[in-house]
């Protein structure tokens, strides 16, 4: 009775997430009320700077009350505003903010900006615009697990992974790119584009200008599109500074090819750096007018609430606020990341060197009893149940090598992070060279419950 899409399991590949979340939800950590509970480190949310947003909201009750600067109610206009072109004032502020994040090295035209209900919606809409059912998109791994749904589910488009490895810090090599393209050809899949996440989720690294330009050259060469998901662009807290795909495309050599700009598209949202995922504000930026036109009409399926557009246009218009926010947020992220990295180091665990993001890509290969994904899953379960930390195993990011984990640090306060670090230290000291699995009966019971629940799990996870 259901459509094949609704009954398919193509969204269920991340079943480990369901299990992790379920266990976490049953026993969530709370400093006072549940200090032995599980600490959520699988949610890439930025809660470090919400106090700054909150303080602005409190100082501007009129805006929350849907009144303008003269104290007049703008409610009527907002209530009726459902123009899929978006609120001009809001888009003007967004492009300025986006430019600011990029050091003002690029300028954006608000007419090329299409709003969407979150980057989730933006990514899906872009794929609808660029590829037909049965076509393929190349995606470097490790990558955000949600892409399996966002890019494939309703669009009918395939993902062909570009395998990156720790041997070169998981950077995208031309070799890996070509290999992925050929693999797609062998599968009789028409490649329509490459989608990169820059800064990377889960790596937390930014791409160099050379890397970006190589990708652009590749896209021109194969006559395909290049989507740059830059949702973490505002979370760059360390050098090297962020270089947007748009900046790389401005290079004079590439500009000679007039097609360049029409094949490059950026996805952005306010969920990561501004820490407002609940507001559902995402966007597509493209110089390709047909894409803009089609995406604009498709945005009817995910318009941003006019109330939210109004609120945020005021907030972003306050340049002092945005400058202050960006500076302090980056500082807090850097400090928190360093705390995680140094804490893990004390336990003999290294992280991939990163300069952005809300997480670290952690190397736990030396803690595996064998170089296999089964061993990775066992370690993950142990860390979840015995240590009480919900971290994300590399397999859920389609990493080709076992032993890597994504650990988020921006969704908790300092003392909670310290508790987490202490737990890891204890765990490592306990395990030392004993690789025997010593799961308690409680963990065993939980696992058999999971297996039963796997077939009927419809628990939604909300992380990136």
């Amino acid at each position: 009775m259901l459509s094949s899409k609704a009954s398919s399991n193509c969204h269920g590949q991340d079943s480990l997430y369901f299990l992790g979340w379920q266990v976490y939800e049953k026993n969530p950590f709370h400093e006072v009320e549940n200090p032995t509970g599980i600490i959520q480190m699988g949610l890439a949310e930025n809660q470090l700077s919400f106090d700054l947003v909150e303080s602005w909201l409190r100082k501007n009750p009129d805006v929350m009350g849907l009144k303008n600067k003269d104290g007049e109610s703008v409610f009527r206009d907002l209530a009726l505003f459902q123009d899929y072109h978006g609120m001009p004032a809001f888009k003007n502020e967004l492009v300025e903010y986006m430019a600011k994040i990029r050091g003002n090295k690029v300028k954006f035209d608000p007419n090329n900006l299409v709003l969407a209900a979150g980057a989730t919606s933006a990514n899906e809409t872009l794929i609808f615009c660029l590829a037909d059912p049965g076509d393929a998109i190349l995606l470097p791994t490790p990558s955000y697990a949600g892409f399996d749904r966002d890019l494939k589910w309703r669009t009918g488009v395939e993902i062909v992974p570009i395998h990156c490895s720790s041997s070169n810090g998981f950077r995208i090599s031309m070799f890996a790119l070509e290999e992925a393209y050929e693999r797609a050809q062998k599968l009789n899949l028409k490649v329509k584009g490459v989608l990169i996440t820059n800064p990377s989720n889960p790596l937390g690294t930014t791409m160099t200008k050379d890397e970006l330009q190589s990708l652009i050259t590749f896209a021109i060469d194969k006559d395909i599109h290049l989507i740059s998901d830059e949702v973490f662009s505002g979370t760059v807290f360390d050098s090297p500074c962020f270089i947007s795909i748009m900046e790389a495309a401005m290079d004079s050599n590439l500009k000679r090819n007039t097609d360049v700009l029409s094949r490059i598209h950026i996805v952005y949202s306010l969920s990561k750096d501004l820490g407002l995922p609940g507001f559902r504000v995402g966007m597509i930026y493209s110089n390709n007018q047909t894409v803009v036109s089609a995406a604009t009409k498709m945005s009817s399926f995910g318009l941003v609430s006019s109330q939210t557009q109004y609120l945020l246009s005021y907030m972003l218009a306050n340049k002092k606020f945005t400058s202050n926010y960006m500076k302090r947020n980056q500082k807090r992220l850097k400090k928190r990341k360093e705390m995680l990295v140094s804490g893990l180091k004390k336990s003999g665990i290294n992280c991939l060197k990163s300069n952005a993001g809300l997480f670290c890509w952690v190397d736990m290969r030396h803690l595996l009893c064998s170089n296999t994904f089964e061993a990775e899953t066992d370690l993950w379960k142990k860390i979840l149940c015995e240590v009480g930390l919900n971290i994300s195993p590399g397999s859920s990011f389609h990493c080709s090598q076992p032993g890597w984990f994504r650990v988020c640090f921006a969704n908790m306060n300092q003392s909670t992070l310290q508790v987490a670090l202490r737990r890891i230290k204890d765990f490592v000291e306990r395990s030392s060279f004993n690789y025997q699995q010593n799961m308690g009966s409680l963990s065993r019971k939980l696992i058999s419950n999971w297996v039963r629940k796997l077939s009927s799990a419809d628990r939604e996870e909300q992380e990136r």
Partner: protein, 451 residues
């Protein structure tokens, strides 16, 4: 690569040689439907009694502006102090920014369930756990289509129907809409015979019908499905093993004396298979908040709910809006007053407008709900055809400067019918509208022979 000079390729090739999807190419084309052309024209040159008296009067958008004063009053009394002060108030901003459940917070579902029940006269109780909230009714319809049908399948839809369904159902899902024609002889009522005919015809052509898409109250006609008709539809659906989507977005915009019966109410009373029924609702019409993007999928089918919940990641309601609405919808006193006043003002406008049209010898179909009337202007068109209808539409828009929706945009099988929304008007605007209609069709003899 050399550019081809073939004209058929011009559009797709107009932006370098970078190919985009065929879906995007067809969607990106300029809107050809008079529904959209008229909307654009009216928004480019909007009528204002004082500042732009020669502008286009918008009668093509079913928006309700009659009760904004009530909501504004509520806002000024409730929004001001809640944010800054008490943390326990519903409008506080704690936790507003973080990820919320994609299908809506339980608080809002509870509030919506209560509101929906209220506007439907208390005859149904809605379970919050069977609700999935979406960013407007538009994604609610699309999401349901993705859940209930595969590419190439079809839904039966009674005509005339809301032009937006063509977009909601067909744009991205690959699902078709098969019209089931209703006629003026029985006031555009739906008949099972017509449903059956359309079903069999479609099946002969090899297309699988997965369900029926209804709007009740109907848009653009404004009539209701009787209890008996609801039973008949459910019987039909059971016999053919198909779904029923009931878009009840105008349930709270009643002005007639007839009683609105929700599909949910009928299901409660008889032993019908609830798994095939799905209701769509939203706050764009009854509460005049289309900009806030709040829609509902209400289903009894656990599998559909499970799938729909996952799909809401693409179209969730924004958190600040959820907060605001929980507060507003929970204010029982305000909602009570709003519903009563809205109905009264709606009745008033409807009566005035329809009487005004009658004075021009333009009769309207019998209707009990909606923000519009379905007007028969067939006597005013030069030729009894779609061409004649569009000529009149064009005259009304460009000469008369009023935007109404021609029946052909709604797939009406009889030419000459027009949907006129009257809830964007103030009483003083009605004579202006009537005068403009009169002027635009001045040379048509029938007007002068008003009986």
């Amino acid at each position: 690569m050399t550019r081809t000079s073939s004209r058929s390729n011009l559009f797709s090739r107009s932006i370098g040689q970078v190919r985009i999807s065929s879906r995007a190419i067809s969607i990106a084309k300029p809107n050809e439907s008079p529904y959209y052309i008229g909307l654009d024209k009216a928004s480019e040159d909007p009528y204002d009694r004082l500042s732009n008296p020669d502008g286009v009067i918008q009668l093509g958008l079913s928006e309700n502006r009659l009760c904004f004063d009530l909501i504004e009053k509520w806002m000024s009394e409730n929004l001001g102090h809640s944010i800054t002060g008490r943390d326990n108030g519903e409008l506080n901003i704690n936790g507003i920014a973080t990820y919320q459940p994609f299908d809506g917070t339980m608080e809002l579902k509870l509030a919506m369930a209560g509101f929906m029940s209220h506007i439907m006269g208390g005859a149904v109780t809605f379970e919050p756990s069977q609700m999935v909230l979406t960013a407007g009714a538009t994604p609610a319809i699309e999401t349901l289509c993705f859940c209930l049908a595969d590419q190439g399948n079809a839904f039966l839809v009674p005509t005339p129907y809301y032009p937006g369904f063509d977009r909601d159902v067909k744009f991205r899902t690959g699902v078709e809409l098969i019209p089931v024609h209703c006629r003026s002889t029985d006031n555009f009522a739906l008949s099972v015979t017509a449903l059956d005919q359309a079903f069999n015809q479609t099946r002969k052509h090899g297309t699988k019908i997965r369900g029926i898409l209804l709007s009740n109250p109907a848009n653009p006609v404004g009539n209701l499905l009787s209890r008996e008709m609801l039973y008949a539809i459910l019987d039909f659906a059971r016999e053919k093993n198909i779904h029923v989507i009931s878009d009840e977005i105008f349930a709270g915009s009643m002005y007639g004396n007839e009683e609105f019966v929700s599909m949910a109410e009928v299901l409660d009373s008889e032993g019908f298979d609830k798994n095939r029924v799905h209701i769509v609702y939203g706050l764009s019409k009854d509460l005049s908040l289309p900009g806030f993007r709040v829609g509902v999928i209400y289903s009894f089918n656990e599998n559909v709910l499970a799938a729909a919940r996952k799909l809401t990641r693409f179209s969730s309601v924004s958190a600040p809006t959820q907060r605001l609405l929980v507060s507003m919808l929970s204010d029982a006193r305000f909602i009570e007053e709003y519903i009563k006043t809205n109905k009264r003002r709606l009745q008033n406008m409807h009566a005035l407008f329809v009487a005004g049209l009658k004075g021009l010898n333009i009769r309207c179909a019998d209707s009990s709900a909606g923000l519009y009337c379905w007007a028969d202007m067939s006597k005013l068109i030069s030729s009894y055809s779609e061409k004649g209808e569009l000529e009149l539409w064009d005259k009304l828009l460009n000469v008369g400067k009023i935007n109404v929706t021609p029946g052909s945009a709604c797939h009406c099988i009889e030419p000459g019918w027009f949907r006129c929304c009257f809830t964007t008007l103030a009483e003083e605007d009605i004579p202006v509208v009537l005068e403009r209609i009169r002027k635009a069709v001045e040379n048509t003899t029938d007007l002068l022979n008003s009986s």
